[in-house]
Amino acid sequence: MNTNNRVYDAILLNPIDNVITSIRSLKKDQVINIKVKEKIIKIRLIDDIPICHKISINEIKTGENIKKYGEVIGIAFNFINKGSHVHIHNVKSLRS
């Protein structure tokens, strides 16, 4: 890959996931590219996203599972809009 060509900004680990992970610090209103099954799709961010943090790639309803690695990492305790920062303010563990 050409290192000067910023092909994507975040990683989708599994096609069934509803969150992606940023590979750099990203800003609100920025339109980011992610690779899904070899296709590049665009998402407009509605929050600032620090590096390594999670972003929703679609709307997630309250009580819905958050999926990363193709596995459940917790549930949403607020409605989460597409392009939001997904972290402890809207996700909780099912195990702790």
Partner: protein, 386 residues
């Protein structure tokens, strides 16, 4: 890919990647004297057990097993035991002697309870042992002789997504070649235990995995600990990990994909080759000492935001995939793989590179942790003392 390294063959057939004199104080009263002895024998390693005769039951069993395990670790060439308890000294000496390793002992009783006399005797005896082990030469050995610990500390999402999966590839490859590996940190199996159970060798191992996870979960509940803020801890959360499930799913990727042969206790040596789980605390010093007591010659240690702590007996290869961390911590990270996180390199390419570094470090190249001496050993405890 290289399959051989230059190591120190021991009398019991195990192979060390280092050849240290271990100065081990096995009673709390003698710790300060042992520290002075070790300081005056540069290159020796100090282990200082702060406890003594009040240690009971399972704690006693685990501590005795760990002291024997530290002494028997293949990276140790000889052991100088410093002690205030002659019967215990004999028992630990006997345990270490079983492998044919040279063990010398000094008790306070041998020195008329005079610490200065103990210090002098310790230097003389330790110096003699250091000369003796320095005669040992490295020779070529196959990687099947290696048992590695797999640790993560101060993790972030890049640990679980990149650094740990690279360690998993290394573990798979090592096990295919006849070697062994272990992961610990039981709390960080919570939320990923269904994936570990699928790899259990048999129903017994499956039960042991589930029991260990339940034990840890109940330990948190019975102490009114909400895992959020504890595990994931403050640093993990700030770095982007939101729940224990997320952390665990990233954690277990470092165990690779091979069959899980057994669940072992803290500091317990596995009886067969392959991949093992150690049911043990997650915090790095306790976790790492469990690995070196079990006989690991080397530790792969991933970090997200940085973690300067290393194991004393088993050199730790520090790995990070976080681009910011890789830019900052030049004298801490032995292997940087942020290019994988940024999509500029594959996991496979990086694991091949790490394998080369692994073989080099096994053959004598030093880790940053060794050079900077950012290391120690600690003892895990369960109950109260008498």
């Amino acid at each position: 890919m290289k399959e051989k390294f230059l190591g120190f063959e021991r009398l019991d057939g195990t192979v060390g990647i280092r050849n240290h004199l271990l100065v081990m104080s096995i009673t709390g009263l003698t710790g300060p004297i042992a520290r002075k002895i070790s300081l005056n024998l540069p290159g020796s390693l100090l282990i200082d057990n702060p406890y003594g005769s009040g240690i009971l039951g399972v704690d006693r069993l685990r501590q005795d097993r760990a002291m024997i395990g530290f002494g028997n670790n293949p990276n140790i060439g000889a052991v100088l035991i410093i002690s205030g308890d002659p019967p215990k000294t004999e028992a630990i000496k006997k345990g270490i002697n079983k492998t044919g390793k040279i063990v010398e002992t000094i008790t306070l009783e041998d020195c008329n309870h005079d610490s200065i006399s103990m210090f002098e005797k310790g230097i003389r005896l330790g110096a003699k042992l250091m000369l003796e082990i320095s005669r040992k030469r490295r020779s070529l050995h196959h990687v099947s002789n290696l048992f590695v610990g797999l640790e993560c500390g101060r993790s972030d999402p890049s640990s679980g997504m990149v650094a740990n999966p690279i360690m998993g590839l290394i573990a798979d490859y090592l096990i295919d070649l006849g070697g062994s590996a272990v992961i610990g940190e039981t709390t960080e199996w919570l939320g990923a235990e269904h994936l570990l159970v699928k790899r259990a060798k048999n129903n017994q191992v499956k039960e042991e995995i589930l029991n260990a996870v339940n034990f840890q979960k109940n330990l948190a509940i019975s102490n009114n600990v909400n895992l959020l803020g504890n595990n994931p801890g403050y640093t993990n959360i700030e770095a982007g990990l939101s729940t224990i499930e997320e952390k665990s799913l990233g954690n277990i990727t470092k165990s690779g994909t091979k069959v899980i042969q057994s669940v072992i206790d803290w500091g317990e040596k596995p009886t067969i080759d392959g991949m093992h789980l150690m049911h043990a605390p997650a915090y790095a010093p306790e976790s790492l000492s469990g690995f070196s007591a079990a006989g690991c010659q080397l530790i792969f240690f991933s970090t997200g935001v940085g973690n300067s702590f290393n194991n004393h007996i088993s050199p730790s290869i520090k790995i990070s995939a976080n681009p910011k961390t890789c830019k900052k911590l030049h004298e801490q990270l032995d292997f940087k793989c942020s290019q994988v996180f940024e999509g500029k390199k594959t996991l496979y390419h990086a694991s091949d590179e790490l394998w080369e570094i692994f073989i080099d470090i096994c053959s004598g190249t030093r880790t940053w942790g060794e050079i900077l001496s950012e290391s120690t050993e600690v003892f895990s405890r369960i109950g109260r003392s008498l």
